[in-house]
């Protein structure tokens, strides 16, 4: 078992590499199609169903600057798979180079507990938690753009800032449903 390490390889000039991990392998392709069109930096998108990544391509694989876990809230498996994959990341990634992207959050049939579990997971790891609309083209484009914002910072292409700094601003903080309920009562 090998850990994926953030700084084990040298970066390429003006290049940013992102790894999209999604158990269902459905949304990641759509995202990748949009993301590779980015002009300001050379974006390479790697797709994976889960971690760890296969050993045999280890040599040819570039340095991964950002790992995105795509969680479909409609399926329990999607969350479990992401949770299991997390173990294969070196701790250095959690200094701003991991983020979660959640789809179907507004769906009526999503149990509140699962949503809660994702929030807890993201806030425990100090990672940003993004929500995406995967059904509409606009939603996909927007999600890709937001990932690019984070990716550019994580790859060091934005002067005056670092991944850790950005993740400090964007990380998920826990706000439980119970608290919200209270606030609505006492507000």
């Amino acid at each position: 078992m090998s850990l994926l390490r953030p700084l084990s390889k040298l970066p390429d000039l003006n290049a940013a590499n992102v790894l999209l991990v999604e158990n269902e392998e459905h949304f990641q392709q759509k995202l990748a199609d949009v993301m590779v069109n980015e002009k300001s930096v050379i974006v390479q998108v790697r797709l994976a169903k889960s971690l760890p990544l296969p050993m045999k391509q280890e040599k040819s694989r570039p340095r991964i600057d950002l790992v995105v876990f795509i969680v479909n809230l409609m399926s329990e498996l999607s969350l479990h798979s992401a949770e299991a994959s997390l173990k294969h990341l070196a701790p250095g990634y959690f200094l701003g180079k991991v983020c979660f992207m959640v789809t179907n959050a507004r769906n009526a049939s999503v149990p509140a507990e699962r949503m809660e579990a994702v929030r807890k997971l993201a806030s425990a790891l100090n990672c940003p938690l993004l929500f995406a609309e995967d059904q509409t083209p606009d939603g996909v484009t927007n999600a890709a753009e937001r990932l690019l914002v984070i990716l550019r910072v994580a790859a060091g292409c934005v002067p005056m800032t670092t991944a850790l700094f950005l993740s400090n601003l964007t990380r998920c903080t826990i706000s439980t449903e119970a608290e919200q309920q209270n606030s609505d009562y006492d507000a």
Partner: protein, 730 residues
């Protein structure tokens, strides 16, 4: 009273004697049938309906092909264009009477999709069957859910209100209770609120705990009869009853859309759509359906003459004024949003029950459409939703206040928003949020917005800053309108019954300004001082710097360094000019505050620290633009002399004065050309002597830099004879 409203054959009906109870319906069906037969041959639906109205109790279901065939033919019609009122009556009667047992019952209920209206008689009869008590509980729940779904399409609700007591009796049924409460909420009028009902609900509450559905119903009761409900209920219970996603909603939407397109000519019994089109209130498209008010009203006029005037009958403002005390609100509160007169009424009457019901309706609609949509958001961003939200926005602008249900919805929605879905509308609604207590700002607004702000593109950043600017301006306006004028810790009073001390309000404002300050500083840093973003940020500080003079709130919050310096060193002269304007306004505010302090002897809350900060900025700005003295020790921007010398910039101390500043450089060159057209080599330093310096300033002022002009004239006493200048400190 109830007896007169219920169809005459009500008394004779019983669970077994179904054929006689059907007489009225079959008769009307026959008439309709004859009419139809003239034009075309009998189609399967007519035959099927005939079958269902006549089928005997106890007919076997198993292996009954005729039943199956008829069911299928009705089902296909239902899903393609909806069922006519007659068909609804027949099928509902068939299902609820359990003539063929319980198994077809649920199936029939599931495809009961009305094309136009649901006849109230049918619903009343179905409730009668419910009272008989033979239905299994799941079917009962299904039926009530169905009634809730088609509630807006029931043609007259008065007859349902007449059996309010019967419906109320189901409250004790534990599984039915939430749905019944919802139905009662929709039906309740003042006269329905009785002490024994309140007692019953309170009893239930002690048994079931504080259930939201009970609280909602009780809060409505309290609005109608505050003397009966002594319970202290918070006005902001978490929005809405739970959405009961029955199987109908989607299919119903589809049918309505389809029927709306093809003007229903092939449905002989359908309500004429002409009637709808003429109705003033019908503006919201699919999302709410206050279309059927006409039917309700015609019914009302004939059935009984009460001294009330339905709002929909009011045609002009004069009529509204004459009948102001007699107005009856429509059952569909959403229809108020579309009508200007209704909004005038709401605005001037300040009827709490109207606001409560409108809020309830809004909260329900918003939750259903955006937060918990059943279909994964396929219809998102469609024209209807956009139109609805825009209507909501214009209503809020009209009433000059936000709705609490919209606010609650936004707080939830921001937590799952992707930042692009319906962005203009959501940002618009966001700017209408009423004052948030400072203790909650962080959790309700800052956290979700920070995350969205920093992970989104620069355009979203601009939009959000603009929206927050709107929010601040509205809060300040609200305060200046409603604040009472005696003393400092006076409570603000507004129609939304929101009370807040002035100090609490100021804290909220400070919190909001600080929050935006953080967003702006860091956003500018991340975006490399993007000039578009800078422009929106300066818009915000245009509002902030004038809080004292324009809105009368003794508060001055300084612009943060993260905005001040990027604006001062910006490449575009517009930003520098606007910064100068903002500094000028700050100065005006601070000096007038000082003056007032001296005049009244009253201590203001503007601290020394604020003055010190302002002076610090002012000195820096004057030194930088005017005195050519930058990088002084003690400045915020300090570079060691050694480093500066090594950079080999000639006269580095002058590199940001009005001549060499990157924003004004081209103006200086242009001025130079105009002054000395014959000179070949440009020597900008020649502008620096006192006479030409004065001309240069004149030249800059004619280029439209009003902010700069005001700033220089107010802060620098400039005599063309000397270049020496001084700055005033307030």
């Amino acid at each position: 009273m109830a007896a007169t409203l219920i169809p005459p054959d009500f008394d004779s009906s019983s669970s077994t004697d179904s054929s006689s109870s059907n007489r009225g319906i079959t008769r009307s069906l026959r008439v309709a049938e004859i009419a139809r037969r003239k034009t075309k041959a009998e189609d399967p639906i007519v035959a099927a309906l005939k079958y269902f109205s006549k089928v005997q109790a106890g007919t076997p279901v198993q292996g009954n092909e005729e039943l199956e065939r008829n069911l299928v033919s009705v089902e296909t019609v239902a899903y393609s264009k909806g069922l006519s009122p007659e068909a609804i009556s027949v099928m509902l009667e068939f299902a609820m009477s359990l003539r063929m047992g319980t198994s077809p019952c649920a199936r029939v209920l599931k495809f009961l999709l009305p094309s136009t209206v649901v006849p109230h008689q049918a619903v009343v009869r179905a409730v009668v069957w419910l009272c008989v008590g033979k239905l299994p509980i799941t079917t009962q729940v299904l039926f009530i859910k169905w009634v809730l779904t088609v509630f807006d399409m029931i043609d007259a609700k008065d007859n349902l209100r007449a059996i309010y007591g019967f419906i109320f009796s189901f409250v004790t049924e534990e599984n039915l209770c939430p749905y019944i409460c919802h139905l009662l909420y929709l039906l309740t009028r003042k006269e329905c609120v009785r002490l024994f009902r309140v007692r019953k609900l309170l009893e239930l509450q002690s048994k079931l705990g504080k259930q939201p559905f009970l609280l909602h119903l009780l809060s409505l009761y309290k609005v109608f009869c505050p003397e009966l409900v002594t319970l202290s209920l918070n006005s902001r219970i978490r929005a809405g009853f739970k959405n009961h996603h029955g199987p109908w909603k989607l299919a119903l939407n589809a049918i309505q859309k389809r029927n709306f397109v093809q003007v229903s000519s092939d449905l002989p019994l359908a309500l004429q759509t002409k009637e709808k089109a003429g109705l003033r209130k019908r503006k919201l498209g699919q999302m709410d359906l206050p279309v059927l008010n006409v039917v309700v009203q015609s019914q009302k006029q004939t059935s009984y003459n009460k001294m009330v005037v339905p709002l929909a009958h009011i045609q002009s403002f004069v009529q509204l004024l004459e009948n102001l005390h007699l107005i009856e609100l429509p059952a569909q509160m959403g229809s108020l949003l579309g009508s200007g007169l209704a909004l005038h009424y709401l605005d001037c009457v300040q009827d709490e029950s109207a606001f409560l019901r409108l809020n309830f309706w809004l909260g329900h609609a918003l939750n259903e459409e955006f937060l918990f949509c059943g279909h994964g958001g396929a219809s998102q961003g469609s024209d209807e939703v956009v139109r609805f939200l825009e209507r909501l926005l214009s209503t809020q602008h009209f009433l000059q206040e936000g709705f609490s249900s919209v606010e609650a919805f936004l707080y939830k929605f921001l937590n799952v928003w992707d930042g692009s879905l319906l962005r203009p509308q959501i940002l618009g609604l966001l700017s209408n949020i009423p004052v948030v207590p400072s203790s909650c700002i962080n959790r309700l607004l800052s956290e979700p917005l920070m995350q969205l702000f920093f992970t989104s593109t620069v355009f979203f950043k601009c939009g959000l800053i603009e929206s927050l600017n709107g929010m601040l301006a509205k809060w300040l306006t609200w305060h200046s309108v409603y604040a009472l004028e005696d003393g400092l810790d006076v409570s603000l009073d507004s129609p939304t019954s929101m009370h807040m001390s002035r100090s609490g309000f100021m804290q909220s404002v400070v919190e909001l300004v600080r929050f935006v300050g953080r967003l702006a500083s860091l956003g500018l840093q991340l975006e490399g001082c993007h000039s578009l973003l800078l422009s929106f940020v300066l818009d915000f500080y245009d509002t902030v710097c004038d809080i004292f003079q324009k809105y009368g709130l003794p508060l001055v919050v300084m612009i943060p360094a993260g905005v001040f310096y990027p604006a001062l060193f910006a490449f575009d002269p517009v930003s520098v000019d606007r910064l100068a304007q903002i500094m000028y306004r700050y100065k005006m505010n601070l000096t007038s505050a000082k003056k007032q302090e001296k005049l009244t002897g009253q201590a203001f809350h503007i601290s020394r620290q604020t003055y010190r900060e302002f002076n610090h900025y002012l000195v820096f700005m004057v030194n930088c633009l005017w005195n050519s003295k930058i990088f002084q020790p003690g400045d915020d921007i300090e570079l060691s002399e050694e480093l500066l010398l090594r950079s080999r910039v000639p006269q580095y101390w002058a590199s940001f004065n009005l001549i060499h500043h990157p924003a004004f450089h081209c103006y200086a060159i242009d001025f130079h050309h105009k002054c000395w057209p014959e000179r070949r080599d440009v020597d900008l330093n020649s502008i620096q002597n006192s006479k030409t310096w004065g001309w240069y300033l004149e030249y800059l002022f004619t280029q439209g830099f009003d902010g700069l002009q005001q700033f220089i004239q107010s802060s620098i006493s400039f005599h063309p004879s000397t270049t020496d200048s001084q700055d005033h400190r307030p």
